[in-house]
Symmetry: C2
Subunit: 345 residues, 2 copies
């Protein structure tokens, strides 16, 4: 069975990671069958796989920072993370792949807000022990013809007063090109759809719509990019099947994105195209600082590691007053797609 095989290999699998995992290898071995352990192993593996693939196409090296939530702040709980960053390299302006595994206690109100459907949970004396873990990545390339990619896969577990556990998965992968390339959009969305279809034919259409709704810059009336998939509160049909879907999602990260990097990394570009990329980077910053729930939650949480949260911001961005692309240009065409999300398949 899968769980057994995963368990046996733990020390060996850990050797391939970017840094030792947040949880001690000894503990991971003892709890090999638990979902927390299996998910931590999966996100560490995904981090290593994606970083190696990015290093290969770039020629540079990631720097891995292993951090722990500070001692003395133990009221917030424990845990830590591994932030891998490659900055101002050959192909990538800023590439960040972050894993975090955090435990602590939530108030009933905070627990309710964490689940987007707002389920009420009963805690012991109003306190609910929780574990939250996930992988989050944003890759900003230098060449304006190579799109930016973002993905995030996460798992939450909350223990109620009666010892029962509430758990759910969330996540998604989405693409932010500066220009719209039909072939790239098709490849990206099709790779995601194939991964989704193995689990439920409704996943791709539902999660594609959810993604367009989520990555929406309301004050601009435009999406951040061309979307992908996004979902939250996934706790069905069973924990095993939900985890199996997450595994399919994480294993599409490399085939969704890396081919687009190889395809475009040497494309010629003009100063105007670079400028347009910088303006779209400005929109990326607007979305992340004004709307992104993960960033807002992180900035408001005491003891969170700000540099890991804001790793998602581009190295450089630009805001020009009243910039509007001229009719008929490639820039105007991209704006049409951002203003009216389309079907790709």
């Amino acid at each position: 069975p899968v769980a057994k095989r995963e368990d046996d290999d733990i020390p060996k699998r850990c050797k391939g990671f970017m840094a030792p995992p947040v949880t001690e290898v000894r503990v991971l071995r003892e709890t090999g069958g638990d979902m927390c352990t299996r998910m931590e192993m999966l996100i560490m593996e995904t981090q290593a796989e994606f970083c190696r693939a990015l290093e290969k196409v770039d020629g540079g090296k990631f720097k891995a920072d292993r951090w722990q939530r500070e001692e003395g702040e133990s009221t917030w709980g424990g845990g830590g993370g591994i932030s891998c960053v490659m900055q101002d390299s050959n192909v990538f302006e800023k590439a960040g792949v972050n894993v975090s595994v955090v435990h602590g206690h939530l108030t009933e109100e905070a627990a309710k807000q964490m689940k987007s459907r707002g389920k009420v949970m009963k805690g012991k004396d109003g306190k609910l022990p929780f574990t939250a873990m996930g992988i989050s990545s944003v890759i900003h390339p230098k060449n304006p013809h190579v799109p930016t990619v973002h993905f995030n896969y996460r798992y939450f577990e909350i223990e109620e007063d009666d010892g029962s556990k509430q758990w759910w998965f969330g996540g998604g992968t989405d693409l932010t090109p500066t220009y719209v390339n039909e072939e790239d959009g098709f490849l990206f969305h099709n790779t995601l759809k194939e991964a989704c279809d193995k689990h439920d034919p409704q996943y791709y259409p539902d999660f594609k719509k959810w993604c367009d709704r989520y990555f929406y810059i309301r004050h601009r009336g435009e999406t951040r990019g061309i979307g992908g998939i996004f979902f939250d509160d996934l706790d069905s049909p069973s924990q095993e099947e939900a985890f199996s879907f997450i595994k399919s999602c994480t294993s599409t990260v490399v085939p969704c994105y890396i081919p687009l990097v190889y395809k475009h990394r040497n494309d010629a570009f003009t100063a105007e195209e670079k400028c347009w990329q910088q303006l779209r980077r400005g929109r990326y910053v607007e979305f992340n600082l004004v709307y992104d729930r993960g960033v807002k939650f992180g900035l408001a949480t005491p003891g969170s590691r700000i540099e890991s949260i804001l790793m998602s911001l581009p190295l450089t961005a630009k805001w020009e007053y009243n910039h509007e692309p001229a009719k008929g240009t490639k820039e105007a065409k991209a704006m049409e797609v951002f203003r009216t999300p389309r079907e790709w398949l």
Copy 2:
């Protein structure tokens, strides 16, 4: 008397503005003694005076956009504004000076939130007619030794069910240098203190503290710059005296800032200093998008002019992962001041 003299000159005074005022000159003449009219004239005059002074030191020209809240959206109310922008010019990377005059109806809940002390106001059928007007400006220079300045002065008037009017002023001027220059900090704060002291000896100490508290980037544990003054809900000792204080504040904008531009505009600078400026610009973006109440209110308000609200963002900004200035550098010295606001006088 002041009101009479202001009234007589209205058509002539309007000729010196950057664009025709939001309210028709005919209407302004008829209502010359009203606080709304006097404040609109003051902010238009301040815009013209500051823009001309900036044009003189830069050598470039402002572009004035006169805009109106769109027709068909009349449920939000009327009004408009004049946005003056000079972008990528000789001395300034982005200079924006914006005036807006807006009327409409607020719900009692919205009215309560507008006043920071949360005063409850009774409206006719729960609706309160209001007028909000102000001038807001952010100047981002190219040279990292010329500081960024921001100021905003505003007036609110809300009519209650019984016909009585609630009114208050708010505003402030603050400086965001990339390096800390003792002489500049002293001149800036001292000019503000002299303006404040003419009205109340508590104004400068109180509003200086308020400014340090307001322009605080909580997730970074640092202020945006070296502060200045900030106040809200000013409705004492009388409307006439409060307006007189606002006039003193607006008349310090030029003497607070323009001498610093002349002093530093030709300072030599290195690539490292330019890079540090770009990183501090990133912090400016973080503050404005995450915390600034005016920006948050604007982005969430239907029918607001996004380009005028986000005019405050720099043309360019940068985010480097985990950047920390080396001990003993000028950059580290600036960080000390941002982390622990100091007294300048």
